[in-house]
């Protein structure tokens, strides 16, 4: 998973704090795009449970606007933010709308939709995600002309497949074809999904090897991927890898919350294994 050293909310630039009523008002108007953009982010961040939020975000998912490179605005910025927010609301009602966005020509929007479908554990997304990836690393995973982006947002799509959790043979076969992708971030995403779906330690071992990659960005990605998979044998290598403590702490949180002992009772307990993990986290604060 691509990871910044530390996410900082955009709130200072956006002015005074707002409440839900104000966020809904801003999202429902269409003159001021930056107000809509912020409102969509806000509703996701606050995990709004207001039915109006779901309705307005699904509506915003249909909004289109050109990229304004000079102003630093991405294409379809409001729709992309709406897609991200819908993943955080945790409401299945968003799934049909996000599936539709998965067919959009804008790969940035497809990327946001894929991530949110993963967060929503949407089984209905497995088939369309697999069919978009089926052409493999040389087609779906090939770079777009004059761009560093790939034909498909492979990283997000692979991660979504891992999060959704369906481990049929044909799903695994599609993901496995990306293990050999030349970009280490795609390789990492494929290993993460396979580790989540199969628990097979050979995928974990490959992620450990990426923790020693010369590029910091790759080590960060491997950290996030090990955390998402909750693979506890990674504890010591995570502690040792050369990366920011913030990233290590996020990865170790994943080991605690997604790890083996968490699976049984539905929540992690304070057994010896978990206590040892917490001790390593304490040292990184």
């Amino acid at each position: 998973m691509a990871a910044d050293a530390e996410p900082i909310d955009p709130s200072p630039a956006a002015g005074a704090p707002i409440d839900e009523v104000e966020a809904l008002r801003r999202l429902s108007q269409s003159e001021d795009l930056s107000a809509q953009y912020y409102a969509a982010w806000w509703l996701g961040r606050m995990r709004s449970q207001n039915p109006e939020a779901l309705r307005l975000l699904c509506q915003a998912l249909g909004q289109r606007q050109p990229r304004q490179a000079e102003a630093g605005v991405e294409a379809n910025a409001v729709a992309r933010n709406a897609a991200r927010a819908l993943g955080k609301l945790g409401q299945a009602g968003a799934i049909p709308h996000l599936l539709q966005a998965l067919d959009d020509p804008d790969d940035g929007l497809r990327e946001a939709a894929a991530r949110s479908l993963g967060e929503l554990r949407a089984s209905a997304a497995v088939e369309p995600l697999c069919s978009r990836l089926a052409s493999g690393p040389t087609v779906a995973g090939a770079p777009q002309p004059k761009s560093s982006r790939l034909q498909e947002p492979c990283e997000a799509m692979l991660e979504a497949l891992g999060d959704i959790g369906r481990s049929e043979a044909q799903v695994l076969a599609v993901i496995e074809s990306f293990v050999t992708h030349e970009r280490p971030l795609i390789h990492s995403a494929a290993c993460r999904a396979l580790l989540q779906l199969t628990g097979d330690s050979r995928w974990g071992e490959q992620l450990l090897a990426l923790l020693e990659h010369p590029q910091l960005q790759v080590r960060r990605a491997a950290l996030m991927d090990l955390g998402a998979a909750g693979w506890r044998p990674a504890l010591e290598p995570i502690r040792r890898t050369l990366a920011e403590n913030s990233l290590k702490l996020m990865a170790l949180r994943g080991l605690v919350e997604n790890g083996d002992s968490a699976a049984g009772a539905g929540a992690a307990r304070l057994d010896d294994d978990t206590t040892a993990l917490l001790a390593v986290m304490d040292d990184l604060l």
């Binding site: 050293a5 530390e6 900082i8 200072p12 010369p214 910091l216 050369l242 990366a243 920011e244 403590n245 913030s246 702490l249 996020m250 949180r253 605690v256 919350e257 929540a267 992690a268 307990r269 304070l270 978990t274 206590t275 917490l278 986290m281 304490d282 604060l285």
Partner: protein, 222 residues
């Protein structure tokens, strides 16, 4: 530990090697060597390394600064980078590790209002481990109260990792506050809130707070 060999007057060669480093790995190794020299003259250069966006080298520099102890406090306080929260996080981490009471004000304001979660996190941890034994008893009590107040407020931070650090710090701090003191009770109440599903939505924070409460309860039995 055997006493280190008498150091050269100034660690200038090692600092020069640090300046010449032209790769991330070279910088890491040069920082490690400078840190191991454990020379007070190295402190400003080690502080500088904290801003280089090289986590491996920063870890080595923090270790070196903590080893220098109180000799590193002024260089750290004087050179805090207002524009680079990554660098501030490492600097606050070093101050937390040293535990010198001169860092108190900085730790308080960092936990209360720094924009970087990693800075607030390191500050929270530091507020739980100031070394106060050299102070008169009444001053110890007032410093502990200030640490406690800052941590109680930090328990409401929006970032899970800051609340996690608050739980860790409260555990340490409460071990040194008498159970009969009202502060002990308010600290325990804050931990109970961080351990409860109603008060805290991040499982790892609840677990860490639960562990802190169990340890504090175990301590009172003895």
């Amino acid at each position: 530990m055997p006493s280190p060999p008498p150091a050269a007057a100034e660690p200038s060669e090692l600092i020069e090697a640090l300046r010449q480093a032209d790769s991330p790995m070279g910088l890491l190794l040069a920082t490690r060597r400078l840190a191991e020299a454990c020379h007070p003259g190295a402190a400003p250069s080690l502080v500088e390394v904290l801003g280089f966006n090289n986590p491996g080298a920063a870890v080595a520099a923090v270790d070196g600064l903590i080893a220098l102890g109180e000799q590193a406090v002024e260089p750290l306080l004087d050179n805090l980078d207002g524009h680079n929260y990554g660098a501030r996080a490492w600097a606050v981490r070093a101050l937390a590790g040293i535990g010198d009471v001169r860092g108190l004000e900085l730790l308080e304001s960092a936990l209360a209002c720094d924009i970087g979660p990693s800075v607030r996190r390191a500050a929270a941890r530091g507020l739980g481990q100031l070394r106060l034994n050299a102070l008169p008893l009444d001053q110890q009590a007032s410093v502990r109260q200030r640490c406690l107040d800052a941590l109680l407020a930090g328990g409401g931070d929006g970032e899970w990792v800051v609340r996690y650090a608050v739980a860790v710090a409260l555990e340490h701090l409460l071990l040194s506050i008498d159970r009969a003191q009202p502060g002990h009770h308010s600290g325990l109440r804050a931990l109970q809130q961080l351990a409860a599903e109603t008060g805290e939505d991040t499982p790892v924070v609840r677990l860490r707070s639960e562990l802190a409460l169990a340890r504090l309860a175990g301590q009172t039995e003895h």
